[in-house]
């Protein structure tokens, strides 16, 4: 087997294992809730007085059948997996009879639109800024470092709240929440796109700034480390052009930063979900929040599963890229997971 194939097999094995563990956690943890989750929901619905006895009975039998609560836990897990494989995430408890699939699919595009560009652009900008700070030194470095440290230490939701207050309330330049105006209906017209863009600015920038800050700090210390390395002094002594040296430093320092990207994706996903709540952005974070409030287990499980799968896939893609460009993996054999 070629070194790259071995590296890949190793990675695939670990990701599959992580996926199985997450699916099992996803299934078994909510079942630790004392008593039968369906009973709890039904009694809550009955207290709320929103549903008639007949409707409750219908909801009740739907869930007992769907969760297979009359069967053994292992059989239930099997049923859960079979449904997952068919792409059926079940029925929402909170928004009966809406299917979880429909709730998720209307929220997913907003979350993707928020997260994908922040990850890619934030990583790129952060690394450029970090490398610049390390290379220039002096006040550029001090300014960039303190700024990056401040932005990367402010929690996602903290920055979101500060931006929301500063640029939507104190200075009413942007809307205070949502992904588009109440009056608008999603369509591909200029009016709607502009409206959506205005709603996008604040949540997007709040996530971007945190990612840029975190990546810049990492890149700065990697680049300072490389700048102090012997090969740089040697190249300088030989009179190698500065541009060439900088390229070498950047290439060496950027490799660990690619791993750093993989590691920050999970945190970013979590942070972005909560940022959505701050801005009432209609993505998965808001769906999760509403589901938690209503003890809507099928929806909670669907969101956590989806976030897990997305993070695992993103991590895998980063690892794949890493394997393709790391000369050590290309040349030699694989390392640990």
């Amino acid at each position: 087997m070629s070194p790259f194939a071995r590296y890949l097999t190793n990675k695939v094995f670990w990701y599959l294992l992580a996926f199985i563990a997450a699916t099992a956690l996803n299934f078994f943890l909510p079942r630790l809730v004392p008593g039968n989750p369906v009973d709890a929901i039904i009694s809550q619905m009955a207290q709320g007085g929103g549903a008639s006895g007949e409707a409750l009975q219908r909801v009740y039998s739907t869930y007992i059948a769907e969760f297979g609560l009359d069967r053994t836990p292992l059989e239930q897990f099997g049923a859960y997996l079979r449904n997952l494989l068919r792409g059926n995430l079940g029925t929402s408890l909170g928004n009966y009879p809406a299917s979880v699939n429909s709730l998720i699919s209307s929220a997913l595009p907003w979350t993707l639109a928020l997260q994908l560009p922040t990850i890619l652009l934030g990583w790129l900008l952060g690394n450029l800024l970090g490398a610049l700070a390390a290379y220039k030194g002096g006040w550029v470095d001090r300014g960039a470092f303190l700024g990056a440290l401040a932005f990367s230490s402010i929690p996602y939701y903290g920055l979101a709240i500060l931006l929301l207050y500063g640029f939507a309330v104190a200075l009413p330049w942007f809307p205070t929440g949502g992904a588009y105006s109440f009056a608008a209906t999603p369509s591909l017209t200029w009016v709607f796109v502009l409206d959506a863009a205005r709603h996008y600015v604040l949540p997007f920038s709040s996530l971007l700034l945190v990612v840029v800050g975190g990546q810049a700090i990492g890149m700065r210390s990697m680049a300072i480390y490389e700048l102090g390395a012997d090969y740089v002094a040697y190249e300088r002594a030989l009179g190698v052009r500065e541009g060439h040296i900088v390229r070498g430093i950047f290439r060496n320092a950027v490799l660990p930063q690619i791993t750093g990207l993989a590691l920050s994706i999970g945190a970013l996903a979590g942070g972005a979900l909560i940022t959505e709540i701050v801005f009432s952005y209609p993505g998965l974070g808001t769906v999760l929040f509403n589901a938690i409030r209503q003890n809507d287990y099928p929806v909670i499980q669907a969101v956590t599963l989806l976030v897990t799968v997305a993070v695992l896939v993103a991590n895998f893609l980063v690892d794949l890229t890493y394997g393709l460009i790391d000369p050590r993996i290309r040349a030699a054999q694989s390392g640990g997971a």
């Binding site: 956690l25 401040a150 903290g158 897990t308 993070v311």
Partner: protein
């Protein structure tokens, strides 16, 4: 060593900030016997002479709540940080020192837990545990965040264990636990302290994140719970900045000062990170 550390401006600033925050959290709630859950005014009364930071959505005194919330948040962070660091150090040293099958097993577990997003495990655990005390919440956060520490500690341990003084101790008949405790841990104490500092900040922030999702401590006032109720009460949209900005700033300040402390320690203990 402390005197040398004290020369670092970052270290001085961060330690003073942390001391101030802890001091306020310890003294604050005892300054007056005001009940943080007692309404002293109407919905979102602006700051005034008697009520320094105004009132929240249900008329509670924001300043009094803040004093109690700060302590709760720091306490949850401390529990989470301690739990995570202890598990991380135990798993990391055993895995790194003993090697073999145990190492494979523990590191497999660690890698799986690192890959699954923390927020997912946190949400699932918190949903399963309906009645969450501050202690329980700290433990939940701690048991989800140790893998980072474990992985780093293992790397340190396996590079330390080939040193000569370990062989000498082993030859003189020291047991595994004694060896790890006396010959390995002291050599990475600075590292463990730095990891602990990061875990503290992680714990405080995760509490707030969980609270914002509606999974905060069931009975106590924490900074996260205050943040959540202010957001749900539309404090920002009605312009009641006093009910939402103070806890946001405090949370950011806690995270910033801990990160600053960690970075100053890092520069002190890893001279290669300093410019030549």
């Amino acid at each position: 060593m402390l005197r040398a550390l004290w020369r670092s401006g970052r270290f001085r600033v961060s330690v003073s900030l942390i001391a101030l925050l802890v001091g306020v959290a310890l003294v604050g709630p005892n300054l007056s016997d005001a009940n943080p859950r007692f309404a002293v005014g109407g919905r979102y009364n602006p700051p005034s002479a008697g009520i320094w930071l105004g009132t929240d959505a249900i008329g509670n005194d924001v300043f009094v709540q803040l004093m109690h919330g700060l302590g709760t948040s720091l306490y949850i962070g401390l529990v989470a940080g301690t739990v995570a660091t202890v598990i991380g150090v135990v798993v990391g040293t055993l895995s790194g020192y003993l090697g073999g099958f145990l190492d494979e097993l523990l590191m497999g577990l660690t890698n799986v837990l690192i890959t699954v997003p923390t927020i997912v495990i946190l949400v699932l655990l918190s949903v399963a545990l309906q009645n969450r005390s501050t202690l329980l919440l700290g433990v939940i956060i701690g048991v989800t965040s140790w893998p980072w520490t474990a992985r780093a500690v293992r790397a340190q341990t396996s590079s330390l264990k080939v040193r000569e003084h370990i062989d000498i101790a082993r030859l003189s008949g020291a047991g595994t636990l004694r060896l790890i405790g006396l010959e390995i841990l002291p050599y990475m104490a600075s590292y463990v302290v730095m990891a602990f500092v990061l875990q503290l900040s992680n714990g405080v922030l995760n509490e707030a994140a969980l609270s914002l999702l509606g999974l905060g401590p069931s009975q106590s006032i924490s900074l996260g719970r205050m943040l959540q109720s202010a957001l749900q009460g539309e404090a920002l949209r009605v312009g009641a900045y006093w009910a939402i900005l103070p806890q946001t700033v405090l949370l950011s300040l806690i995270a910033f000062s801990l990160l600053l402390l960690q970075s100053s320690l890092d520069e002190f203990f890893n001279p290669r990170l300093r410019r030549r």
